[in-house]
């Protein structure tokens, strides 16, 4: 049986609606400007390069996904944006102000569950508000609103250990958004969840993002996740970590899971596949000693 590949459209092709949307995005102010940012671990110039010089402009309310195999420096990048790590050079400007150290203007949702176990769900959401110096009753009311938004009002008095993984991440999102950050950083936030829950969480995130004025920088290694969520996809490669391509997602919004069989999606995914799974990697043959006795070949 011969396999004929589908005739896919070029992933650069955008329907007029999508093209118009990208034009509008480009006209919005730039929230985050990354200039020649690079990171090398170790000193004296012969350390390990996390990622080479990269530049990126992120516009207001844009949804950016950064995708790449492990070791491409995507997590290091987002941690530098968050201010949790120092860069080796270059700069990041948020609304024109250079980043120095972590701050509430950049909210972060981590892959691991980082809810404070000694605080109830509501108290977790109130944390940033209290740090900002809001009085308890105002913070309380706001926290309730945010919990309502992620659909967890019923659990405001529960402790994190009483929640499932997906619910914990929803609280973490509410907690980050309650601070009204300029940009929401998400470092593989759904990576630890099972496939079904992850699907649901992606849909929740879309709904939330529609209603909140926030720019999102989302790290993932899941191609479909990036296709489903992103406006633009930053594809990174390894050895050394670097940006391979920045792709404008041709899939129209609002998105649904049905689009995962549309030609735009397939074209995009095909391109991402090409970039991320370089032939050298996938073609690698394993040297195996034959341990089977039966005559049948498996294939």
């Amino acid at each position: 049986m011969t396999f004929t590949p589908l005739k896919l459209p070029d992933y650069h092709e955008q329907n007029p609606e999508v093209a118009a949307r990208f034009r509008r995005i480009r006209e919005r102010p730039v929230v985050m400007k990354v200039r020649d940012l690079h990171k090398t671990f170790g000193t004296n110039g012969h350390g390990h390069v996390a990622f080479e010089k990269m530049s990126l402009d992120v516009h207001r309310r844009e949804f950016i996904c950064i995708i790449g195999p492990s070791g491409c420096g995507k997590s290091t990048f987002i941690r530098i944006v968050a201010g949790l790590e120092d860069s080796s050079g270059g700069e990041i400007l948020i609304d024109g102000h250079p980043v120095s150290g972590p701050g509430p203007d950049r909210g972060m949702v981590f892959q691991g569950y980082t809810l404070f176990p000694w605080r109830t769900v509501k108290q977790n959401v109130m944390f940033g508000l209290k740090m900002r110096g809001q009085d308890t009753s105002t913070a309380d009311a706001e926290a309730r609103q945010w919990l309502d938004m992620v659909g967890l009002s019923k659990f405001e008095g529960a402790y994190p250990h009483e929640l499932s993984g997906g619910m914990k991440q929803r609280v973490a999102i509410a907690r980050a958004l309650a601070n009204e950050p300029r940009i929401l950083l998400m470092d593989e936030p759904f990576g630890a969840l099972d496939a079904l829950t992850r699907c649901k969480m992606q849909s929740y995130l879309m709904q939330i993002w529609k209603k909140v004025d926030v720019t999102v920088l989302f790290i993932t290694h899941d191609l479909e996740e990036a296709c489903y969520l992103a406006d633009r996809i930053v594809v990174m490669g390894t050895n050394p970590g670097r940006v391979l391509e920045v792709i404008e997602n041709p899939m129209p919004r609002p998105r649904s899971m049905d689009q995962l069989i549309s030609p735009e999606f397939l074209a995009l995914k095909h391109r991402l596949d090409e970039l991320i799974h370089s032939p050298a990697e996938t073609e690698e043959k394993l040297h195996l000693i034959k341990l089977t006795q039966a005559g049948d070949e498996v294939e």
Partner: protein, 365 residues
Amino acid sequence: MGLRDWLGLRHELPQRRRLVLTILSFVIPLAVWSIVSYVPWIWHPLIRVTDPGGVDYFMNGMEIDRAAFARESANATKAGLKVPQGYRVNPVYFQPPHAVARAFYTAFTTPPLLPTEPWLYQSLGHSIRTIFWGFVTSSILGLPLGILCGTYRFFAKLQEPFIEFFRYLPAPAFGALCVAVLGIDDPPKIAIIFIGTFFQQVLVIGNTVRKVDPALIEAAQTLGAKGWRLLVNVVIPATIADIYTDMRILLGWAWTYLIVAEVVGTMSGITYFIYQQARYRHFDNVYAAIGMIGVIGLTTDMTLSWLGTVLFPWKRRTRKAARPEHKALPAVLADTLEKESSPPASKTATTNLTSNSPQPATAKA
């Protein structure tokens, strides 16, 4: 019910069996003690003389080594004298369970032999007071220092090497010094408990605080917490329950220094009672007093442990997740998701720029 049900590697035991084993852990030593006490041919190395017979130095009620008794009996028989009579007993310092159990009560009700001596409850009170002040003074200094050492490299490097050295100096070695400096009453005793507790406390608490999950600190930083607020709002609450457990263990250590501390200067508290009772050869009271230290220690610890679950409810990890995140549906499609939970628009975006919404005038190309 196979052997594996009881002895499977890391196999969880049902509650009934756990209870059985807990009871057994007390019953087995008690049984061994009872057997040695009550079964004459197990140990009972002495003979209590009931009739001296022809042996001139034997007296009624006298306790004598079995070998010596046998020798004298043989001599008496040979000499044609009356053979001495007696029965096997344990030495007076080995008291049977019933005597010790009785002493648990009578030790409290028996007035002291001398008017200057304290009652048992007064002795116990004195000991508890000594422990309390030793532990409190140690904690007032040790707790904050430990937290600082665990949080800031600066304090850790400045203090821990010296403390690491000092904790090897045995607290009792400071007894003479403490008496010389602080006199013979309670202060030197409190000082010994302090020395025995404090240095361990700083190191143990420092280590516990160091183990705080760095991800929690990072999360707090991205939420705008910094400096001392990070310490007060994240580091301390994140470790307070573990610090509390450390404190419970340290309190147990403080008790082990008690006896040494009470010998320093004028002997006092439960140690004085024990020495005095031993001098009177009231060994049942000695055992009871030692047992009381164990009972007080265990009760305190169990109370504190229970109090811990009240104070730190997030540490009660018995309950399961409040509800499963997803139902067992064969397919998860976006439209069903949309219907299932569309969050109300509580926080509407100030500018609504999504493609399916009306565009603000400025965004139009």
